[in-house]
């Protein structure tokens, strides 16, 4: 599998996990009237998951520098 394909597949899986974790029924598990560490459970869950998800995006997209596919620029600078 080429590195590009591998990366795309990882991102797709990440996306799917994110969609699952941020929707019913997983979300319903945290829809309770109680405080965890003094913070409403739902609020805490969403923000912590959000942060972890961002970290994962960063890890996957920044992981390996792929060779940049170049394309010809017609005008590389705007002219007036």
């Amino acid at each position: 599998m080429s590195p590009v394909r591998r990366k795309i597949q990882r991102l797709l899986v990440l996306f799917a996990f994110g969609c699952l974790a941020l929707n019913y029924p997983l979300l319903a598990l945290f829809s309770i009237r109680s405080l965890w560490f003094g913070i409403p459970a739902l609020y805490l869950y969403l923000f912590v998951f959000w942060l972890i998800f961002i970290v994962f995006i960063a890890v996957v997209t920044e992981m390996k520098k792929l060779p940049r596919t170049s394309f010809p620029l017609l005008l590389n600078r705007k002219s007036k």
């Binding site: 829809s31 405080l35 003094g38 969403l46 998800f53 997209t61 017609l74 705007k78 007036k80």
Partner: protein
């Protein structure tokens, strides 16, 4: 309380600062030192997503639905995971084909159709209207709050006259500002570096302002978030907001909002503008994909605490939650902080309005007005760049006026978020056409038109019209009983679907019909050539990257240059053409005719200014001959499929080749082996023939040289000679026989024969041999006939051969040979057993090979030709049987052959 002139002065000087930043960025970029060419500015410019909706509306939404404000930011986060390949592809397409707006993108994708461009523009303008009015409402409300707080009656009062209404002034100031920003000149690349820099600055300000508000409210008015949440649990009104059940529409609504915001982050015209059109380098997407979600996280952290604080401090509900952010510091008398927060809200709103109006004005000009103008009027040899600017300025004013109008009609009866969601649902209508268009070649122009139109109409009917009804501009009975009392057509319960909230309901129906039309009609439709070319160019953008030339006809360079100059001005045209000349090593002073590449270049320059569809029309007016070369078409359409097909064929061929090579090698090996065997056979045969010949010759020479040889001696020699010639004859016969069988030329007379009779005959034929050596022969055969399908003579030959061998190797006088016929393992077996010396296990296989004889230990001379058993084996194998020997040294041997029943 602050004086009005202070607020006005601060607002205007803030806008002045923005303009200064924009001017500086433009100045820098003209000198080739872009300030915006880094992923951080890019990320901040994407944050134009956070508008007054986020700044004021999120708190309002949180006060009503708790965590329900969040899906609007979770959706973009999820989408950001896909940016690395989805957004990058869109950016690449836009760069290569000079796409300047979302309308241009779709028009280009679907055969450069100006119909699609116009359609998308109309949807965008109508769809964004509520969104712009949201910003106007937020700015005008926040201005009033700053001015009159805590006199809430003044804030709520309805504005009657136009000049009294500060929302109108806000709209006009913003229009002026956008015009200054976006339409100072027509730009070939249609990128606005100054605007992007200003937007990035605004993103910083709004984040700082909102965080300042959050920190002040959470940590100074309360003792940190834990204290605040502790208060929250004590009151049922606030503690119920900790659960998702308060969200109207529940989890389905939650899901809808995530979906809508996923689409909005990509396909709202202003998001498309900053994400795709204003992107400097597609590698910036890598960092933005996680930095932008981080920005969203940061700006949302304090939303819920602020909402809770507002609800705890204004429990009577007389302060609208949408203004909590301002009201809380103002109650504490922190006017300067409130002013800073107000500025943050102003940045959020102006940022959105500037980008949205610039994006929309480009679309209105390029995709709505220009195509009509170019078709209706014959504008010949006029400098159109001024006209273009004029159209854009007008459309900015028009878009803002439309937003203001919507605000006047609807604004009072809606919260900020519910106004914004209507726009989100409109932007989502673009998503099927774009997403299918970028990945699915068969998505056709007609299908896209149908999908967009149908989706837009459903959206209009189920979301926009009801908003007029709810504000009293249409009768309320329209909502409750449907138009003309047709209950099935109630806009919030279309066809009786009544389980969803209005947004989910509208999104469900509009997306269903939009995607349904797009997919179904694409499958039924036949694409035109232009359609197919553009589809290929978009989907395989990484392969084409604009190196294919579609123009076949020739054009005069001067004409082409003149055409471009009319739209983007002569100075810019000169620059663009000379940079083309230097990069392609062409001297325009020597050439007269433009080649396909230059025509293509001119078309792209033009599409930057007037859109792809119009640019094609304009270029074709100066190009003589066919506009599309068949070679170009073939190249684009067939390349992909052919390359795939070729590589597939190649793979199959190489597999076939490999197999053939293997077979050939095996055949070659077999041939070599056969060749070796043949040589061996020939040499053995000659050797075997030479032995008797030599002895015949030797004896005849003796007889010849000794004529006086005595009679008994002579007779003895002659006897040997006769025997040797007999042996020679037999040998030759057997060689011929074997050759015949091996080459398959032997005649076989297959018939049903009685094997017992065959055995009896064979025993009779060899009885003389046994008698000579005084060897006993015992027949153990059934008394009833055993029928097999075989060649009678050949089988007799085999048995005689085995019997004569047995006779030869049995010891004289004491020898016993037993012939048996029996059934075993579903086959008939014939066994000839002797009690001779037996055969060594090493030799048991060899004896069935040609000329492999067992050397007789007693007299050293072989007794047979060495071909008998080889012939036997061939015969039995021909009958699908087997022949083998079982023997123990010194105890005799058993020759057995089997025949199938």
């Amino acid at each position: 309380m602050l004086q009005e002139w202070v607020i006005l002065l601060v607002s205007l000087s803030y806008l002045g600062t923005l303009f200064a930043i924009a001017y500086y960025a433009d100045w820098r970029s003209d000198r080739g030192r872009s300030v915006i060419s880094n992923p951080y500015i890019y990320t901040l410019s994407i944050a134009v997503y956070c508008t007054a909706w986020t700044f004021y509306g999120s708190v309002g939404r949180a006060a009503e639905t708790g965590i329900g404000f969040l899906p609007i930011y979770l959706g973009p986060t999820l989408m950001a995971a896909l940016w690395w390949f989805l957004l990058r592809k869109m950016i690449r397409i836009a760069k290569v084909y000079r796409i300047t707006s979302i309308a241009d993108f779709l028009a280009s994708r679907y055969g450069k159709s100006s119909l699609i461009g116009g359609l998308v523009t109309i949807i965008a303008v109508v769809g964004i209207m509520p969104y712009i009015s949201l910003q106007l409402k937020a700015v005008s409300t926040s201005y009033t709050v700053m001015l009159h707080y805590p006199d809430l009656a003044r804030i709520q009062e309805h504005k009657t006259t136009l000049w009294n209404d500060n929302a109108f002034s806000v709209a006009m100031v913003m229009a002026a500002f956008s015009i200054l920003f976006g339409t100072r000149h027509i730009d070939a690349t249609e990128r606005h570096e100054g605007m992007v820099a200003a937007i990035a600055f605004e993103s910083v300000i709004k984040l700082l302002a909102f965080s300042a508000a959050g920190i002040f409210i959470t940590f100074i008015m309360f003792d940190g978030p834990l204290d605040l949440f502790d208060w929250v649990t004590r009151y049922p009104e606030t503690s119920r907001l900790m659960q998702l059940e308060v969200l109207p529409g529940g989890y389905i609504n939650w899901f809808t909002l995530i979906f809508l915001s996923m689409m909005a982050i990509m396909f709202l015209p202003r998001q498309f503008q900053v994400l795709v059109v204003e992107n400097v380098n597609e590698e910036h997407v890598r960092k933005a994909a996680w930095l932008f979600p981080l920005y969203l996280l940061a700006i949302n952290i304090f939303v819920l605490p602020i909402a809770f604080a507002g609800m705890l401090l204004f429990p009577e509900g007389h302060v609208p939650p949408d203004i909590f952010v301002l009201a809380l510091p103002l109650t504490e008398g922190k006017n300067i902080l409130a002013l800073f927060i107000y500025l943050g809200g102003l940045s959020a709103a102006t940022g959105m309005v500037i980008v949205a109006t610039i994006a929309l004005s480009t679309m209105v000009c390029n995709d709505l007005v220009m195509p009509v103008l170019l078709r209706l009027l014959t504008i010949q040899h006029v400098d159109l760049s001024r006209l273009l600017l004029f159209i854009r300025r007008c459309s900015i004013v028009f878009v803002l006026l439309l937003g203001y109008l919507y605000y006047r009609l609807i604004g009072e009866s809606y919260t900020l978020v519910s106004m914004g969601l209507v726009s989100f649902a409109a932007a989502a209508q673009f998503s099927p056409a774009i997403l299918f268009g970028v990945f699915w070649k068969d998505a056709s122009r007609r299908a896209a038109i149908c999908g967009l139109t149908a989706g837009f109409l459903v959206w209009f009917y189920t979301l926009l019209l009801p908003s007029f009804a709810r504000s009293g501009w249409l009768t309320v009975s329209f909502l409750e009983y449907g138009p003309f009392g047709i209950e099935l057509l109630r806009p919030y319960q279309l066809f009786g679907l009544d389980m969803f909230d209005p947004i989910t309901h509208a999104v469900f129906w509009s997306m269903l019909i939009n995607i349904g039309c797009l997919v179904t009609i694409s499958l039924l439709d036949r694409q035109s050539t232009m359609d197919r070319i553009q589809a290929s160019l978009f989907i395989d953008v990484y392969r084409h990257s604009g190196d294919t030339h579609l123009w076949k006809g020739k054009a005069m360079i001067t004409e082409l240059k003149g055409l471009v100059a009319r739209f983007i001005g002569p100075r810019q045209t000169d620059r663009a053409f000379s940079s083309y000349a230097s990069s392609h090593n062409v001297d325009f002073s020597k050439e007269i005719q433009a080649d396909a590449e230059l025509v293509e270049f001119a078309e792209r320059l033009l599409s930057g200014a007037i859109g792809a569809a119009s640019a094609r029309v304009m270029v074709s007016s100066v190009v003589d001959g066919e506009e599309i070369s068949p070679e170009g078409v073939m190249k684009i359409i067939d390349e992909t499929s052919q390359v795939l097909e070729y590589s597939h064929q190649l793979e199959e061929k190489s597999i076939e080749l490999e197999a053939a090579t293997r077979e050939l090698q095996e055949a070659n090996k077999r041939l070599k082996e056969l060749d070796r065997l043949k040589d061996e056979f020939v040499s053995t045969v000659s050797h075997e023939l030479r032995t008797p010949l030599t002895s015949v010759r030797a004896f005849s020479e003796i007889l010849h040289d000794n004529p006086d040889m005595i009679e008994p001696e002579r007779k003895k020699y002659l006897d040997i000679m006769v025997k040797e010639t007999e042996r020679l004859t037999r040998l030759i016969n057997e060689v011929l026989d074997l050759a015949k069988i091996e080459s398959g030329r032997a005649d076989w007379h297959m018939e049903n024969i009685d094997l017992t009779e065959v055995l009896r005959e064979a025993v009779e034929a060899t009885s003389q041999l046994f008698r000579e050596k005084s060897v006993a022969i015992i027949e153990m055969t059934p008394t009833f006939p055993i029928m097999v399908f075989a060649d009678r003579d050949r089988i007799i030959q085999v048995v005689i051969n085995l019997l004569s061998n047995a006779a030869k190797f049995s010891p004289p006088e004491k020898g016993t040979v037993i012939v048996r016929l029996y059934f075993k393992k579903r086959e008939i077996r014939v066994e000839v057993a002797d009690n001779g010396l037996g055969i060594h296990p090493d030799e048991q296989q060899k004896i069935f090979e040609k000329f492999k004889q067992i050397t007789d230990l007693r007299n050293g001379k072989p007794k047979g030709t060495g071909l008998g058993l080889a012939i036997c084996r061939r015969i039995i194998e021909y009958h699908n049987g087997k022949i083998w020997v079982e023997s123990i040294s010194g105890q005799g041997s058993k020759f057995i052959f089997s025949l199938p029943v």
